[in-house]
Amino acid sequence: MIRQHLPALQVILPLLAAPTCLLLRRAGLAWLFATVVGFATFAIAILLLRQVLSQGDIAYAMGGWSAPWGIQYYVDPVSALVLLIVSGISAVVLPYAARSVAQEIPSERRCVFYTLFLLCLAGMLGIAITGDAFNLFVFLEISSLSSYALISMGQDRRALTSSYQYLIMGTIGATFILIGVGLLYVMTGTLNMQDLAQRLPAVATTRTIHTAFAFLVVGLSLKLALFPLHLWLPNAYTFAPSVVTTFLAATATKVALYALLRFVFTIFGAEYAFNTMPLGPTLLLLALLGLFVASAVAIFQENIKRILAYSSVAQIGYMILGISFATVTGVSAGILHLFNHALMKGALFMAVGAIFLRTGSMQLQHLAGIGRRMPWTMAAVVIGGLSLIGVPLTVGFISKWYLIQAALERGWWPVAVLVLIGSLLALVYVWRILEAAYFDAPAKPDAHIKEAPLSLLIPTWALVLANIYFGIDTSLTVGVARQAAGLLLGVQP
């Protein structure tokens, strides 16, 4: 019986666990409860993925109202993969949170912290699973509002201003999405995604639909921090608590990217988006610009979290680049990188959070000689960094490999060369971190800095090992990504 309700449970479990956390009133209990829920959602996501791969798409009618009238939850390979990565990251981050939160967040706010964390998780899972355009907006706002509050819990007062900045830009983005969905509804009279996809071609040439498309793409680009709409991201990631940075960096922009995929491919269709509207060249240009500008800015940062934040903007460029090709290989490279980047940035930000726990600083100059004092944590940074650059046997290599293959398939070899040059820029900023950690002499040799506690190391290394595992055995990720891309483009792989 449970099996048939899995799509509903995927979202409802964290959504109902959130207020329960508030009622528990004891931080330790709230953490334990949230962790159990995190693992349970991860288990549900695994079951859903297996079910989708073996038996095909799953539709679930909320409240028993069938498809075009009621809200439908719809799981296909694309959403199953996003559900898997979001819930997987939460299952890794929550065990890590206990120590990190105990240090960074005052005790009276910890219950609220876990409440907000679960709400944010529920919102993201909801975006990935819903088959209703307006419902997607609601879940987007649930996750965004809770992430603004989570970011503002950072210790530095600049966390407040960066959260405010994110709130303003995020709300403008969300309102743009609302306008777009409204215009679609005016023209078609439906909000169900599949129903929309069927009815749109009849009115696709009207100016209203063109406007709706533009509003949706710009609004979602704001949410996914596509260059040059990324201005909220570096500050938000730098000043948020370590746990929040890890979670958001690994999931928030990915989920927004998923929403873009859904709107562009499932609702409007590749034909409309790339032939009638000039989405391909626009995304290609912005992706390449973002890749280079953000990587170049990352090289000149002194704060390690800020380096990684700018690197995130650059990595989003890779994902968008893959999508802008509008071929099966290209889109699957984009989806693949969506998955892989969550693994690498998750591991990197967790390791950086562990360093912050022990040293209390994020500045590169204070990290001098940390490689000898925290060997395991820094080893995680090394592997995460190699993955970011795209060295073979890591997930980063797999993404780049398919991306370059997709570029060559279209005959765009200059783009392939640019991707390789982008990796060299990544090499430079990763090298700056490693140089400070391993080769600079520590400023205060007698500082008592120990290796990070096991409760931080184990989750970090879980993700590091995932980086290597999915870099060697690609059958699951590449297989699902290809199937998903074929589905989005409407061709059988």
């Binding site: 309700h5 509903a8 409802i12 959504l15 109902l16 959130a18 207020p19 329960t20 508030l22 009622l23 679930y60 009618a61 909320m62 409240g63 028993g64």
Partner: protein, 138 residues
């Protein structure tokens, strides 16, 4: 007591009426316009009016913040609980038809409970927002 005597007197007459109207909007919601959102806000408005005229401390003794937080959480849980109940009774999530013997009664019962949950949460969240802002600078 000398200050704002007229306002306080008028408020004393009006607050019960506002609360009554909120309950009407809440429970008449399945026959006419109304529902949990509107009722919750009206209900909270009565207490906000009280707090404005009689001081925050008095309002806080009637509605302590810890209680409001609990009620807000319970309202969401009531909403979710109805969904889980309908799931356990064999329907889909939030399918009210299975809640009672015949579907029409089930739908009535379901929407009533759901709106009650919404009303509780909205009212308490509105009050929490107001109390938090006004209590910031003593």
């Amino acid at each position: 007591m000398g200050k704002h005597l007229v306002l306080r007197l008028v408020a004393k007459i009006f607050i019960p009426l506002i609360l009554l109207f909120a309950l009407y909007v809440q429970f008449h919601g399945d026959y006419g316009p109304g529902g949990g959102f509107q009722a919750g806000v009206i209900f909270a408005a009565a207490f906000i009016l009280y707090a404005l005229l009689f001081g925050l401390d008095h309002a806080r003794t009637v509605m302590p913040p810890a209680l409001l937080q609990t009620v807000a959480a319970l309202g969401v849980l009531l909403y979710g609980g109805v969904g889980v109940a309908s799931m356990l009774l064999g329907g889909n999530y939030l399918d009210y038809s299975v809640l009672a013997e015949d579907p029409v009664h089930g739908q009535h019962l379901g929407i009533l409970l759901i709106e009650l949950g919404v009303g509780l949460t909205v009212a308490s969240v509105m009050m929490v927002i107001f109390f938090t802002f006004t209590g910031r600078r003593g």
